[in-house]
């Protein structure tokens, strides 16, 4: 077994809103090995981003609150670290890139200055050294005339270029984990492909582990080794990427895969969609959160919330009372 980098156990995060407490993450456990790429998929509001932000204590508090759980990074619980300790992890060992490159860079600070910040902070190098390193990094992510572009501001870069800058900045201190929070969602399709290819190439070169959050199942298939599917603040299925696509075990995953348009499907057929709406998380779900929308639903689903358990092939885990191949309760 390879070295485990990140091990998250029973993470629960809530948000205090004027309408009540929102239970965004309800006991999530997962782990990440060295050099591995974990895809996290799920629809908007299922808790993917909040889970990852919680690990680094980046959830805005208040209104957010991490109420339970541990997030061990190389054996140390980040959730019990004080501000100074966790700051040494952020950006240096675990860094993040975000969904919208239009808003994730500071508009009134030059790219060079923004890139120099983590370098000078974590590597303790001088301004001049940080400048040279930034040029190298920008060249690494494919920004032409990098030396001239350091003094430019974010609005002078295109969306794809800004995301490249974010990636360069995130990788500047050689982190062991890169958390990519829907990094291609706000970009158009050709740029998406470029960014995915760039991250793949950098993974080869630098060997960092990646957590790739997305709702695009196609992107996950091309980049991840392992996939976690989230729903209603839970991980409901987890499997090596091939197994998940070949034989999904959770009705929600099946629904997601069926809602993908297929190139060989007959013409004029209506695209499949899962009925109903994602759950409002004002109450912590006591029964299976997917039961109201599930096609396989049984009585047991309304009584108890299933836990993630191993079924089928090695490493395939699912939280469901129903065996979808037979349609019967387990």
């Amino acid at each position: 077994m390879t070295n485990q980098l990140l091990n998250v156990r029973g993470l629960e995060t809530q948000f205090n809103t004027p309408e009540g407490i929102v239970h965004a993450v309800n006991g999530v456990s997962f782990s990440l090995d060295e050099g591995e790429t974990l895809g996290v998929v799920g629809e908007s509001g299922c808790g993917k981003s909040v889970t990852m932000l919680s690990c680094l204590k980046l959830v805005p508090m208040p209104p957010g609150k991490i109420v339970a759980g541990h997030a061990f990074f190389k054996g140390e619980d980040m959730l019990t670290m004080d501000n100074d300790e966790i700051r040494k992890v952020r950006g240096a060992q675990i860094s993040m890139i975000f969904q919208d490159p239009m808003t994730s860079l500071n508009p009134v600070m030059s790219i060079g200055k923004q890139m120099a910040e983590p370098l000078m902070l974590h590597l303790g190098i001088t301004k001049e050294q940080a400048r040279n390193r930034s040029i190298e990094l920008l060249e690494m992510v494919g920004i032409p005339q990098a030396a001239d572009r350091l003094k430019d501001y974010p609005h002078q870069y295109s969306g794809g270029m800004r995301q490249r800058v974010m990636i360069a900045m995130a990788l500047s201190c050689m982190p062991q984990i890169l958390i990519a929070d829907e990094p291609t969602t706000a970009l158009d399709v050709t740029i998406q492909a470029q960014i995915v290819d760039l991250v793949k190439r950098l993974r080869e070169e630098l060997g960092m582990a990646i957590i790739w959050i997305t709702h695009d199942l196609g992107v996950v298939a091309s980049i991840a080794n392992r996939v976690s599917v989230m729903y209603g603040g839970f991980i409901i299925e987890e499997a090596p990427v091939k197994d998940l696509y070949a034989e999904p075990l959770h009705p929600y995953t099946i629904g997601l895969l069926n809602s993908l348009p297929k190139i060989n499907r007959e013409e004029r057929q209506r695209l499949y969609s899962i009925n109903g709406m994602p759950p409002m998380l004002f109450k912590k779900p006591k029964v299976c959160p997917f039961a109201p929308r599930c096609e396989f639903v049984k009585d047991h689903c309304w009584q108890e919330n299933p836990v993630l358990e191993s079924y089928g092939r090695d490493g395939h885990r699912v939280a469901c009372w129903v065996d979808v191949t037979s349609g019967r309760e387990r």
């Binding site: 932000l53 680094l56 980046l58 805005p60 208040p62 501000n83 700051r87 040494k88 992890v89 952020r90 950006g91 240096a92 860094s95 993040m96 975000f98 969904q99 919208d100 808003t103 994730s104 860079l105 500071n106 508009p107 009134v108 600070m109 030059s110 910040e117 983590p118 902070l121 974590h122 501001y153 609005h155 002078q156 974010m166 900045m169």
Partner: protein, 357 residues
């Protein structure tokens, strides 16, 4: 950047033309007969005399003829028979104020340094404390400091200046004589008239420092502190509100999370990333406040009997001195245009999106 400044500078004459047209246009809303009253001292004995005045000054000429004459003045023979220019605001001739018995331009020359003196000492505490409170309130949202700042902000914006000013006068002057209304004590004005005291800038507090006269400086401050407090407490209330909401909005931005995810100290996240962005709307409001301070703070100057532009305008208005009011209105317009120019240039310095577009 240079392009941007040149473009803004080119706008200045256009704006000035607009301001003068509007102000002159307002005067033209009065008929020729009514305006003729501005040119006579005694009641006219009959209509013929009125007609003569209208004819003499061309009060029934077309609008733009009168406007042009108002801008550049007219050529008239003086008592010796030489042709001289009479009037013309472009030459700084704003007319003669009968209530103050001096040229309007002299009123501005005498009074504006006092207003500037007060503004200088108000701007610094006004901005620094107001912005500091706003940022601190936003960072501590819903905690004690924030709640206190919000309550203060509501009280500050709704408490009338003249009531607050009178309360201050009662507490700090009538009861204790700690601070004084007016501009300076008698012994200072005697000293100034004697010519011993060199007036480099005509700003009393600055001149006192330049003359190394701390006693005079203290006297000047003693007269200015009550207006400074009065002006500050209103501005703080609005600055707190605007800075706080702008800062709260900025703290929710993605780039603030990016900054935190890079491992920056929270103080750096706030001071280097969030605050510069949050300052953009505050700078816009700053322009308005500075115009307010320089254009004369009518109520505050009147309450504290402070001889600035605002007091002059209030005195003139109380005596229906149209000429003075017009002159001061144009002067305020000029200040407005210049301050906005300064704010726009300042804005470009802070925001590269403005500077580089």
């Amino acid at each position: 950047m240079t392009n941007y400044i040149i473009r803004r500078l080119l706008l200045v004459p256009v704006l000035l033309a607009g301001v003068t047209l509007i102000i002159f246009g307002m005067l033209q809303l009065l008929g020729p007969v009514e305006r003729s009253a501005l040119y006579v001292v005694d009641f006219p004995k009959n209509e013929k005399q009125i007609d003569a005045v209208i004819k003499r000054y061309g009060l029934d000429d077309p609008f733009f003829v009168q406007y042009w004459r108002w801008l550049v003045g007219v050529q008239r023979p003086d008592t010796q028979g030489n042709i001289v220019r009479d009037g013309g605001i472009l030459y700084g001739d704003f007319g003669y104020s009968r209530t103050a018995s001096q040229e309007v331009i002299d009123i501005i020359k005498n009074r504006f340094p006092n207003t500037l003196d007060l503004a200088l000492w108000t701007i610094f505490p006004m901005l620094s404390v107001g912005i500091w409170m706003g940022v601190k309130a936003a960072v501590n949202q819903n905690k004690f400091f924030d709640q206190a700042a919000r309550i203060y902000s509501i009280i500050g914006t709704s408490f009338p200046t003249f009531v607050f000013g009178l309360l201050l006068l009662m507490l700090l002057y009538a009861n204790n004589q700690w601070f004084l209304p007016g501009k300076m004590s008698d012994w200072v004005s005697i000293l100034i008239y004697s010519g011993e005291f060199k007036q480099y800038t005509h700003l009393l507090s600055i001149d006192a420092l330049l003359n190394l006269r701390l006693d005079i400086f203290w006297d000047a401050l003693r007269h200015m502190i009550m207006p400074i407090i009065t002006l500050s407490y209103i501005s703080w209330a609005t600055f707190v509100r605007v800075t706080r909401s702008s800062m709260l909005e900025t703290l929710r931005m993605d780039y603030v999370i990016t900054a935190r995810s890079k491992g920056l100290k929270e103080a750096d996240v706030i001071n280097k990333h969030a605050r510069p962005n949050a300052m953009l709307p505050v700078v816009t409001m700053m322009g308005g406040s500075i115009v307010g301070l320089l254009g004369g703070v009518v109520i505050t100057e009147t309450v504290f009997n402070y001889p600035g532009i605002g007091k002059a305008a209030a005195d003139a208005a109380a005596q229906l001195d149209v000429v003075t009011i017009l002159g001061l209105a144009i002067f305020t317009g000029l200040i407005l245009i210049i301050s906005n120019l300064v704010v726009d240039i300042l804005y470009a310095f802070i925001d590269p999106r403005v500077r580089l577009s």
